[in-house]
Symmetry: C2
Subunit: 321 residues, 2 copies
């Protein structure tokens, strides 16, 4: 194990004081070019890296962003792609991602509280926002820096930064795609009403049909499983539907057993595997925006902004013979 190199070692090696080394790294503009070079060279040859712990001690900043790792639900989740993007973007901005697990909102708040005392993350990223979400208000009350990936459903006036994907725009483009292929009786298989995300996705479908003067009554709610998706697809085709827009790939996969003109949501690996047309969320981009908003807030730039990204329709032919 390499003996650790401290700022004092670098200072000695470059014949300057500790503080000058610190300045070279943190406020290069106050240091004379010559010394700067000399110090940088010393940093290089010694392989010096600032100790995050020591820095945190003094500055109170940990360069850590905390995120809860989602439990994979029944569905085919896309969270890992978001997390990957978050980790990469954070690294580019000099931050690292700290994970935590929590069963429900209360447990999550307790964990956040604990983390604040121990590791003091500089910011939090909340995912899966929902109606009456207590986490955002808890953080907001304490004036802690955070972003949500997901709109503040039911609290549109919430002043915190957020990033989300425009589900309605997605299903609108899916619906238009099916219209373009000549379909006129297009159904929608959703989740139970009440979830912000689900309602939003449904809205895009219905407003598009309404705009064309078509029937927006061919819709059913499910629990999100493929089985119920398949059942719903049977029912809806029975009622005349020739194409279906689905709230998720999971549901779409079930529907695909019934008819070919189906569009899913999330563009999961499954969609690619079975040749399902689906709406892809720009997750890496969303993650990058989360990091931007958060680090912006952290470096004192203006607050409260939000970003709404548009999913893109990935059109596939069903490969099934």
């Amino acid at each position: 194990m390499a003996e650790k190199v401290t700022i004092a070692d670098v200072a000695r090696h470059a014949n300057v004081s500790r503080q000058t080394v610190s300045n070279v790294l943190n406020s290069p503009e106050v240091v004379k070019e010559g010394t700067r070079q000399r110090v940088l060279a010393a940093v290089e040859t010694l392989g010096y890296r600032v100790s995050a712990a020591a820095r945190q001690m003094r500055t109170g900043r940990s360069r850590l962003l905390a995120v809860r790792i989602e439990t994979t639900q029944d569905g085919m989740n896309v969270f890992d792609r978001f997390l990957h993007g978050l980790t990469e973007s954070a690294a580019r901005s000099g931050y690292r991602v700290l994970l935590y697990a929590a069963g429900d909102d209360r447990a999550e708040i307790a964990t956040i509280d604990q983390l604040l005392g121990e590791f003091e993350p500089d910011g939090f990223v909340l995912t899966s926002t929902h109606h009456g979400d207590p986490r955002a208000s808890w953080l907001a009350e304490r004036d802690l820096p955070f972003v949500t990936f997901g709109r503040p459903w039911g609290a549109p006036a919430a002043g915190h930064p957020w990033v989300d994907v425009d589900g309605a725009a997605g299903t609108e483009s899916a619906t238009r795609h099916l219209l373009g292929e000549g379909h006129r009786r297009i159904g929608f298989i959703g989740w139970e009403a009440g979830s912000g995300v689900g309602d939003d996705r449904k809205a895009g479908w219905s407003r598009t049909l309404a705009a064309e003067g078509l029937d927006a009554g061919l819709t059913l709610e499910t629990d999100g499983s493929s089985a119920q998706g398949q059942a719903a697809a049977r029912e809806l085709t029975g009622r005349g539907a020739t194409a279906l827009v689905c709230v998720s790939d999971s549901v779409a996969l079930g529907a695909l057993q019934v008819l070919p003109a189906v569009v899913g949501f999330d563009d999961t690996p499954v969609a690619a595997a079975v040749g399902l047309t689906s709406l892809g969320q720009p997750l890496a981009e969303a993650a990058a925006h989360c990091v931007d908003l958060l680090t912006g807030r952290l470096s004192g730039r203006p607050a409260a902004a939000h970003v709404l990204l548009t999913p893109s329709l990935v059109i596939r032919k069903e490969p099934r013979s």
Copy 2:
């Protein structure tokens, strides 16, 4: 934002010295019962939590485990479930999980090196081990604590702790299941030879057929995609196969378009969705063992142990009409 509570605050409140508070938390046995209670009460009322940074400064231990977040490949990855288990198990042992991203082995080593200088993680968890893996040897040379999730393929004598799932045992049980259903011509769709994991899974199938005196020639290699899985299934059924064991759910999904008697590997959400029988890896358990081995090493307990877990066959009826 709550003003932070330090150990000195607790000491003052309980009328003892800082060190006594520290002892109550770290070596309770040296403190008299009465004082212990008093200090704990003070800790409670003040809501004190040790500052990880300050502790790390002094002890050199960060209580952080670092893990690379995998890039979701073409396949339907299961990494997020492992990661979730890891986060939970780590928390139970008082550790947190720090994520990092890296494109290839060299980049990963560079990142680990950097992390060591900055955040000083106490241990590392390497995933996706493969032949000639330079990461394990790099860490081993420096005598840094780590575990791998995956055997040291090609270096069976490697002295580091590892956890893995017995792929061969899995495909063996899958093959026996198909034998039990009366199949005699059972094929195997794999990956290209050379990957430890793929070869292992194939071995379980072939040794089982060999033990029964049956033909183990019905096998093809693919790139792991559903499309190639489907093509391979066509070819193999053409050569007389009536059932197929597959190296992954992705491949199995393709095969499922050709014939019903298919077993996949990983028990991904897709398998559940389409009613595919599949081998489930005990990921939460694997993660827990990783944490155990690592924290064991960290607290000075004996080194080098390993754990081989058995996957379980999840039998499903194909729901397709």
